[in-house]
């Protein structure tokens, strides 16, 4: 077991995790309300990983992420209003509405790429590590990818190149396939002959660190060690953050199967029940952290205040995004070349 986080840091993490949770719940509502038409992926259930890990990165560090990026971009400090506007394809979006949900990115915050191609980010993140070392400023590259990326051949090449060059790359494998979904039912889950994803990185001599990705203290502790190794020039590190997939991400299109997160399940005023009671009781990273903090002196009241602030922020973001204009059609032909 890792050391418990300093309580104020834990509250800070919870604020961000709740902001991401309320953001994602808004995205789901907006999709179901036909405010945008594209396919999308939510970060619900993985908030502890992104928030704890990204809080440990420095401003000079570079990041690459995937189709399931909303949590990473927000955890790094992007404006939720402009992030939501991007998802709605609006001109005030972080990428002018040209990337959308799958390519949400904020280059000013160090993101080099948000690739929607499985295995895209992992290989580009190695390149960012190459650049970090060439520039010699002590920065590292943190690349987020799902377990499915390790089904792609490019991932092996990326791991091998990073290891051969001892590049400062933190591979963050967010394995949300733990637990079992029936193959062929809903969104694809891991299809791999290996039952130990860390063994793939180990086979090319990369240090590996598995961690409970829904435990913010554990992620904080393991990521601190991993980042220190990378930054000290000890080569890449492979961190596997294991979570149990949020049931709403199991269908081909996300569904609000657990409803809007009800924090009374953290204060003891409500007991999780029904089909998803186990996930809500044991695997929801937001509820897990909220339960701990709500139990402290004055914790329940503070929790309510934190959630109210998250709600206000996201309501403002929704209003901003919906009020933002769509891009002018002639701009479709611009910015093909730098």
């Amino acid at each position: 077991m890792s050391e418990p986080l300093h309580e104020e840091l834990a509250w800070k993490h919870l604020e961000q995790m709740l902001l991401i949770r309320r953001f994602e719940e808004a995205v789901l509502r907006l999709s179901n309300g036909k405010q945008f038409i594209g396919h999308y992926h939510l970060y619900i259930g993985q908030e502890a990983t992104g928030v704890a890990l990204i809080s440990l990165l420095e401003p000079r560090d570079r990041l690459a992420t995937t189709h399931r990026n909303h949590g990473h971009v927000l955890a790094r400090g992007a404006d939720p209003s402009r992030a939501l506007a991007e998802i709605l394809g609006r001109t005030s979006g972080l990428c002018g509405g040209r990337g959308g949900t799958i390519h949400l990115s904020d280059p000013d915050l160090g993101f080099i790429s948000t690739s929607g191609i499985v295995g895209g980010a992992i290989s580009l993140g190695v390149g960012a590590g190459y650049a970090c070392r060439q520039r010699g400023e002590g920065a590292i590259s943190a690349v987020f990818f799902g377990d499915g990326a390790l089904e792609e051949g490019i991932s092996f090449e990326a791991l091998n190149i990073a290891s051969l060059g001892r590049l400062p790359v933190l591979f963050v494998c967010e394995n949300n396939s733990s637990g079992s979904w029936a193959p062929g039912q809903g969104y694809p889950t891991l299809v791999h002959a290996s039952s130990d994803l860390c063994s793939i990185a180990k086979s090319v001599n990369i240090a590996t660190m598995p961690v409970d990705g829904a435990d913010v203290s554990a992620v904080h502790s393991v990521a601190t060690e991993a980042i220190a190794l990378c930054r000290a020039g000890k080569g890449p590190v492979f961190l596997e953050a294991v979570t149990k997939r949020w049931p709403g991400s199991n269908p081909l299109w996300p569904e609000p199967v657990t409803g809007a997160t009800d924090l009374r399940m953290a204060t003891g005023e409500m007991t999780p029940s029904g089909e998803h009671a186990d996930w809500l009781s044991n695997h929801d990273p937001v509820l897990r952290l909220a339960r701990t903090l709500a139990a402290s002196d004055g914790g329940a009241a503070r929790l309510a205040a934190v959630d109210a602030a998250a709600h206000r922020c996201i309501e403002d973001a929704v209003k901003f995004a919906l009020a933002s204009p769509l891009p002018a059609t002639e701009t479709a032909f611009e910015r093909v070349f730098a």
């Binding site: 570079r62 990428c95 990115s105 290989s123 580009l124 060439q134 990326a158 190149i161 910015r335 730098a338």
Partner: protein, 329 residues
């Protein structure tokens, strides 16, 4: 005027770019393939050992390393070896590098340069004789250059390093040993400008890469017979210099397009389409294409020659074009 081989000029461009810009590095240093010029790279390796990395046999990984590094602010040159190896890195080149600037609303440029040795090189058989550049022309966001001379490869590679866009440089394996005039002080050459390598009044031959040299040989033979062909070397495939093509056809009224990509949807098809669309009234006769046949490239020498454009085929096409005319209306 001094004379240099294509290979030496390419090496000079790498050396000068490494010297001038500390952001430049090489991922893959076997730029000259397996041919006799390969030792020319020794000077680069000896003088910049810390800025050259030879990756494992992992073209996709090497390309992605270069692309990701470019996204993070440096300027790598990724040598992918034989042109067909680029297919292993297709996703990275056409679906990461080419689209990043656009989909980030102009916020993530990708100043990477890819180099590959294309073309029918002699006994390359179906898998080592490819010219992928026409396929790459279908990936908006890439700059693609296909130099044909020492001065051009130097100038275009220097510009590739300075460009903020992903650039693909294709060198024909048969060009490496060919010598040509270079200015005393070689200069960068801007993209998007074709070069008239030979002036002529009777017919325009548009070519690129090694086919420019083959077309020049054909033009010399034609000149002995009193036919003056103008040879327009595209140099840059993307962006394409439509103005120079149309101006030449305006002078000659006849067009033969020569290209080593296969016939369908190739560079020759695109040039023919540009002239049909914007210069139909300039033409006195139908356009002719001389390209690689729409078949894989066979190994055995006579079969290989049968499917590959050469001077004789160009001369035949020129004479046929000169013998034809649109019906007078």
């Amino acid at each position: 005027m001094p004379v240099q081989s294509y290979a030496q000029a390419l090496v000079d461009a790498l050396y000068d770019s490494l010297t001038e810009d500390p952001r430049v590095s090489l991922i893959g240093s076997y730029v000259l393939g397996l041919g006799p010029q390969r030792h020319l790279m020794d000077r680069v390796r000896n003088d910049f050992p810390d800025r050259i990395v030879d990756p494992p046999t992992a073209e996709a990984g090497a390309a992605a390393t270069g692309i990701g590094a470019a996204m993070a602010g440096v300027r790598p040159f990724v040598d992918l070896g034989t042109g067909s190896f680029s297919y292993l890195a297709w996703s990275q080149i056409v679906n990461e590098a080419a689209v990043s600037y656009y989909m980030s609303d102009g916020r993530i440029p990708v100043p990477v340069t890819f180099h590959l040795l294309h073309g029918v090189r002699g006994a390359g058989a179906p898998q080592h004789s490819h010219s992928p550049q026409s396929m790459l022309c279908n990936a908006p966001g890439l700059e693609i250059v296909a130099p044909a001379s020492a001065a051009d490869v130097y100038g275009l590679v220097r510009t590739a390093f300075q460009s903020n866009n992903p650039t693909v440089v294709v060198s024909h394996a048969k060009l490496l040993g060919i010598e040509s005039d270079v200015p005393t002080a070689k200069q960068p050459i801007p993209f998007g400008y074709a070069d008239i390598k030979r002036s002529g009044r009777d017919v325009t031959i548009v070519a690129n890469s090694f086919m420019t040299q083959v077309s020049l040989a054909a033009a010399a033979t034609l000149a002995d017979e009193g036919i003056e062909a103008e040879v327009v070397d595209l140099r840059t495939l993307a962006p394409l210099d439509e103005a120079t093509i149309l101006a030449s056809v305006g002078r000659t009224g006849r067009l033969v397009v020569v290209d080593e990509c296969p016939l369908r949807c190739g560079i020759a098809s695109e040039v023919a389409a540009v002239v049909a669309e914007h210069g139909f009234g300039l033409l006195k006769a139908p356009v002719a294409r001389v390209t690689r046949a729409q078949v894989p490239v066979p190994y055995s020498p006579p079969l290989e020659a049968a499917v590959t454009p050469d001077a004789a085929k160009i001369i035949t096409a020129v004479k046929r074009t000169l013998s034809r005319a649109f019906p007078q209306t």
